[in-house]
Point group: C2
Chain length 480, copies 2
């Protein structure tokens, strides 16, 4: 059972597990789409409805994913779902996941804590009462730890104090009401493990980047969402978009803020590893789920250096920090447990090493085949959902960023070609006058993009470029 299976990580995970033979049910109340609607935001990649997603996945893969639309905060719904599906593992992504969203105002702070904490509390009771023995795999965040001046361990720390020693939950200092909601979850889950013998894995995930997994590129209607706005978009996403459109990379404050990052292809693999290696009854196991750590300045440098090689004029601009956070601090977080269980990470930091390797190495061998069966990508479909958004700047930058490609990477080129063609057709038909409803709205966004006046349009660039960039670098010898 994937709670939050319509979201960024949840959707990719649901398909990843379904493709590998797991019996999957998606539980989601679709509130993430509601946030976009209320705040006027939109994923850069135009995603299909969850019903169309699931239907398409069935057609493409021959696998059935159950869909249950409803709210885990609604106990009546949740208990029905548990009774009907009887999960062996519950992967819980179903939370409001944006720190900026939680800090917009009091109502959204309260919503975030209520939705996240009470939803997870319901999930704990549902497991206890309706699916005893089911393994909870809960998404936490590295942001629970804050930025302590000592090494960050994985969930627990052994403390010697006044001559005595104990291993205790690692002290938490969440930096927003969102991060704190996950801190609260962790404490509640820890108690449920101790008191009820519940088996739980708390995955303190870093910042996820990338939009493509083997499954989400298999058909246009399966494409994952990509957020690049100030609420749901993260630093790396924003930087790539900014580089693409010639906007300075906006670094908050001094830029020494350091966090853990990982590729979405590692997210889905980590979930699978956690599900395959269940925690023991009574254990709340904690994994720090990231593969590399970067400061904001280091991120900006990577994006800048790669962009400049492609002929882009990438500048960096420090802007006043809207957050209260340490801008220069010690940061050293451990992340060995998932690797010990078999995670083979896709690394962004391999880029520079790979670039150096290319200058001295023999011709690179073909990319290593995936250990899992790769779905055959569907042919580009010019009239599909993926073609509804114009993206001229994106196409320019994406072309500039081309490098050696891993299997399936060609799909993006097709997508972007289709986008460009559709956009030109809109232009030729006279734009708005010939369209109505959703099509008209998209055309207006397109017009804004062309004039550079639409905030939503000005950063129009697909993170596909970054995903491809990552794929190219990890395929190089020595890059990992």
């Amino acid at each position: 059972m994937i709670i939050g299976g319509d979201g960024y990580c949840g959707w990719a995970t649901a398909l990843h597990l379904s493709a590998r033979g797991y019996r999957v049910a998606i539980v989601d109340n679709l509130c993430r789409r509601g946030f976009d609607a209320s705040l006027g935001l939109e994923t850069l990649t135009p995603i299909a409805s969850i019903h169309e997603r699931v239907r398409t996945w069935g057609e493409v893969s021959g696998k059935h994913v159950e869909l249950m639309v409803g709210d885990v905060c609604d106990w009546e719904f949740l208990s029905q779902v548990f009774t009907a599906f009887r999960p062996e593992a519950v992967v819980h992504f179903g939370e409001q996941r944006s720190a900026p969203y939680s800090m917009i105002d009091r109502a959204r702070a309260a919503f975030t804590q209520s939705n996240n904490v009470l939803g997870t509390l319901n999930v704990l009771y549902a497991i206890k009462e309706l699916a005893p023995g089911a393994h909870l795999v809960k998404l936490g965040t590295m942001g629970e730890y804050g930025t302590p001046n000592i090494d960050i361990e994985e969930g627990y720390i052994t403390i010697t104090h006044n001559g005595r020693t104990d291993t205790l939950p690692y002290p938490k200092q969440g930096g927003s009401f969102y991060h704190l909601s996950k801190v609260h979850d962790s404490h509640n889950i820890h108690f449920a493990a101790r008191a009820w013998g519940l088996a739980a894995t708390d995955l303190n995930q870093g910042v996820v980047y990338g939009v493509r997994t083997e499954e989400t590129v298999a058909h246009p209607a399966l494409i994952n969402r990509y957020d690049y706005d100030g609420i749901f978009g993260t630093a790396l996403n924003r930087f790539v978009v900014q580089a693409a459109v010639g906007h300075p990379l906006t670094v908050y404050g001094k830029g020494g803020q350091t966090r853990g990052f990982l590729d979405i292809r590692d997210t889905v693999r980590c979930i699978q590893i956690a599900v395959d290696n269940a925690a023991a009854p009574g254990e709340m196991r904690v994994f720090n789920q990231f593969t590399e750590q970067f400061s904001v300045n280091e991120l900006a440098a990577i994006v800048g250096a790669e962009g400049k090689k492609m002929g882009l004029d990438v500048r960096v601009q420090s802007v006043p920090n809207p957050r209260v956070e340490a801008e220069e601090h010690y940061y050293n977080a451990k992340c060995t447990k998932l690797r010990d269980l078999g995670l083979e990470p896709h690394l962004l930091s391999g880029a520079r090493r790979a670039a150096a390797a290319r200058t001295r190495a023999a011709p690179a061998p073909p990319p290593a085949p995936s250990r899992h069966p790769v779905l055959t990508p569907a042919p580009p479909a010019p009239d599909s959902l993926l073609c509804r958004r114009p993206r001229r700047l994106a196409a320019r930058v994406c072309a500039a960023l081309q490098g050696p490609r891993a299997a399936g990477a060609d799909q993006a080129g097709g997508e972007l070609e289709g986008v460009g063609r559709r956009a030109r057709q809109h232009d030729e038909r006279g734009g708005r006058g010939a369209l109505s409803g959703r099509a008209a709205r998209r055309a207006r966004a397109h017009a804004g993009l062309r004039r550079g006046t639409s905030q939503a349009g000005i950063f129009g660039f697909s993170f596909v470029c970054v995903a491809r960039f990552c794929q190219s670098t990890v395929a190089q010898p020595g890059a990992a």
Copy 2:
């Protein structure tokens, strides 16, 4: 502003501060009375309505306490209250405070976390937006810490790890969804202090005993509540009642569970100290608010020894522990900060030393006068609220426990005499037939008490005895 000012600690604190010249507003949604109604529980001391309490306090003291009945989870109400009263300090008792209540079922667990966490979140926003500069004095609990195998510090601990050092929030391991709600509060408050510069004092309070303060004994309608049931009553309260009625003291499991305790007269003084010595802006200061620590077995031994001296047959019986908790553990919690600020505790452990002192000392000097003006106790009022409950067993034990009295202690004897007279009148009138409604219900409870068949009645005994017992011991030289 006292949020939760109708509750056990809140009411005593409101009167304590009002008596000393503070401008006081009570904010309460009266949900504690609702819990009694829904669970069929009742305070042993029959308390007046909050409206009658406040009115009586005005008559007795000449001081006005504002009363605002409503829910802090209701932002519209809370913002009106803050705008109207403009507090300089916000003392926040307004939470569901029973661990067993929070563990009755899922709905009450969710209520506890929702009510406590979102209520406190609203209070944080109210201070930030409507009373910036106001000092938050928030009641936490020693139960937030759990029972670590190292010393418990006051809120923070300095950790040296892999050659580096930081002072971090003390790791928390709450033992119920109630305790966890306070853990969540502490994390949220800590963030509000860091992010908004809010000044906060988090008081991790131990188990409170006693029912009498200088103010609550000043008039029958001011008497505080005394809970002795399995949901809201605590170990010491239950033991005293059990000893009084000849029931074995029920020790959960091995009885090695150790906790911090304090007299309610110290609770109100601690709040005053915290209010008088505000935290700095941006600081979440943590005080461990208790004065002594005892194991359950030690508590039973104290109650048993004192009871036997009074001729009571006090036995101890181990019963299966309904909680998941360590029954034998290390426990050493620090509690020096409030004493450093002037707290002079009333100690229960002085009892044995005082008893020893009496055998060798000259006649004891009269009790030291209180440092605060003592309100003149009202004369016993046979027809007052305090006389509505029959309490023959209580009267017997209370008489047996008589010792040297501090000022005002005579009031309890009057109360109990009145109770006994009223009960006899009920008996003489033929009991139930002559009564109706609330009176009939009380009469039936009385009948149950006499037959020993009513669970509510069988433990009919006033904690007044313990309060008097404490007063007597701390008045002895060398007892503190």
